[in-house]
């Protein structure tokens, strides 16, 4: 239980359900964690866990990934608190609502600013520290929505794909400094254990015109199912996601870089 002994991790968007469960796994594996999010109410989800481990192991910071100064401040806070940063996980994302034929520019720009530029700003902020120590792991939390044929909002599909693409460019650019950059694209997550907090500036999602295959009301052939191929397992549990993030953040995956690791129950098997 020491795969992340005396490592320090920063979770941008750490208040999300994924961040909350990944926090538990990272603490159990011996890491110090800094959660960064835009509102105190996100951190309620991990109150007892944070109290149990105390300020020596986990800290929180209010900062928005849409603002470079906030990100710089967050990283400085992490280094001041725990002395270094070994792992950065960009969990912040924004779905946006609407499809290619009717999405409004404001929703599109928000998704761009949070999902793609948010990860960009997080990486730029952590770079000086990781370059100095000549090592580090950066994980961009993208999604199956950006990788395969999913009926999600066009802003979500485009900018999660954009973030995955950006991961590859960062991987090639940062390898000389010994920094590995990977993307992690899970399918649908089981977040029932947390009460949902709507994303800031979000508008309720509406189904695509003519419905979507596999859903009631779809006007196309009823043959599409596109679900998990594993019995009784339509979606991922957060513990499984946390297990993957531990592998991607630990030195076990130090040779892996630029790749996008999928976890989607076989819905999309990249060939």
């Amino acid at each position: 239980m020491n795969r992340l002994i005396n490592k320090t991790a920063v979770f941008v968007g750490g208040g999300s359900s994924v961040g909350s469960v990944a926090l538990k796994s990272y603490l159990e594996e011996g890491a110090n964690v800094v959660l960064v999010d835009i509102d105190e109410k996100y951190f309620e989800r991990t109150r007892e866990l944070r109290e149990q481990y105390g300020p020596g192991r986990v800290a929180t910071f209010i900062g928005a990934c849409t603002n470079q100064a906030d990100m710089d401040a967050a990283m400085k806070f992490a280094v001041d608190t725990f002395g270094k940063i070994d792992v950065l996980i960009n969990l912040a994302g924004f779905h946006g609502s609407g499809h290619a034929e009717d999405i409004v520019e404001e929703q599109w720009n928000l998704a761009m600013d949070v999902t793609c530029s948010g990860a960009y700003r997080g990486i730029m902020a952590v770079l000086p520290y990781m370059k100095a120590q000549k090592s580090g792991h950066i994980v961009n939390f993208t999604s199956l929505g950006g990788r395969g044929n999913r009926g999600v909002a066009v802003s979500y599909a485009a900018w999660k794909a954009g973030c995955t693409g950006m991961t590859k460019a960062f991987a090639m650019a940062l390898a000389p400094y010994g920094i590995s950059v990977t993307a992690f694209a899970p399918g649908t997550l089981d977040t029932k254990q947390f009460e949902r907090i709507p994303e800031k500036g979000s508008v309720p999602f509406k189904m695509p015109p003519g419905g979507f295959p596999g859903m009631p009301g779809f006007k196309g052939p009823a043959l599409y199912n596109g679900q998990s191929v594993i019995k009784d397992r339509p979606i991922a549990t957060l513990e499984e996601i946390a297990g993957a993030l531990v592998y991607l953040g630990s030195d076990e995956s130090s040779y892996l870089t630029g790749d996008c690791v999928d976890m989607n129950g076989g819905i999309l098997m990249q060939t």
């Binding site: 470079q68 499809h99 290619a100 034929e101 009717d102 999405i103 520019e105 599109w108 720009n109 761009m112 793609c116 530029s117 960009y120 990486i123 730029m124 770079l127 950006g146 990788r147 395969g148 044929n149 999913r150 009926g151 999600v152 909002a153 066009v154 599909a157 485009a158 900018w159 999660k160 794909a161 954009g162 973030c163 995955t164 693409g165 950006m166 590859k168 460019a169 960062f170 991987a171 090639m172 650019a173 940062l174 695509p208 015109p209 003519g210 419905g211 979507f212 779809f218 006007k219 196309g220 630029g258 060939t271």
Partner: protein, 239 residues
């Protein structure tokens, strides 16, 4: 004449690929509307079935949407929509300023989406449509020397194609992409590495290659190909 009674809208910026597509569709008998923002690229074009539309700024969604709605009213039925909007990749890489970063994403990604949006609405209204997007290989595979902004912008085009394919398919609209390596006119660079093709006598892609690939993806018989990315790079990267 394979595009006899078809109306094609092409957006060309930063490359001759869009111009070659427009010329190819004209040769195949189509009525073509060509959006451009670089007058010198379209100076020599002259055809009664061609309508040139000057765009001040591909980052301006409002301008693209209003222009698109106007074109849709004028031609009533849009059949094919090809976006070939690119910007040269800066050699600053990760030292790119926030403004340059926003300029790259807003031009390539937002420009492409809001060029397509009003035309896609028209296509979905009359249950026929073909969308083709020309993107750089740098958005698809890891290449040395590519700036993250350029990779993100081009990769988001792949996301747009797959999303339109998944959601507009129910209205018989297909969306595909052509991922190109560097072209002979210097556009669509893909990093600093050796990304030339391996076919003897045809190592560098030309805008005409892109035009032929777009013609294939947007013809009437390509009605069951959707969400696909055609790797047009002369055998440098096979996936």
């Amino acid at each position: 004449m394979r595009f006899e009674d078809r109306t094609v809208c092409v957006a060309a910026s930063g490359s001759d690929a869009g111009i070659a597509c427009a010329l190819n569709y004209l040769a195949e008998g189509a009525k073509v509307v060509l959006y451009y923002d670089e007058p010198e690229r379209v100076a020599s074009l002259e055809n009664d079935r061609l309508k040139l539309v000057r765009i001040q700024d591909f980052k301006d969604a409002a301008e693209l949407i209003s222009t698109g709605e106007e074109i849709a009213r004028e031609y009533e039925k849009i059949d094919v929509c090809v976006a070939a909007i690119t910007r040269p990749d800066s050699d600053k890489g990760i030292d790119m300023s926030e403004e340059e970063y926003q300029e790259m994403l807003k031009t390539i990604s937002s420009g492409t989406l809001f060029f397509i949006q009003p035309l896609l609405k028209n296509m979905m209204d009359h249950d026929y449509g073909r969308v083709a997007i020309v993107m750089s290989l740098a958005g698809r595979i890891n290449l040395p020397g590519v700036s993250p902004a350029y990779a993100a912008a081009n990769a988001s085009l792949g996301g747009i194609v797959r999303n339109i394919g998944s959601t507009a398919g129910v209205h018989f609209v297909t969306a595909n992409a052509v991922a190109v390596g560097p072209l002979s006119d210097g556009s669509y660079q893909a990093g600093t590495g050796d990304v030339q093709g391996i076919i003897k006598g045809h190592e560098v892609g030309t805008p005409e290659d892109v035009a032929k690939a777009c013609e294939y993806l947007t013809s009437e018989l390509a009605s069951w190909t959707t969400g696909e990315i055609l790797d047009l790079n002369g055998g440098r990267f096979m996936i």
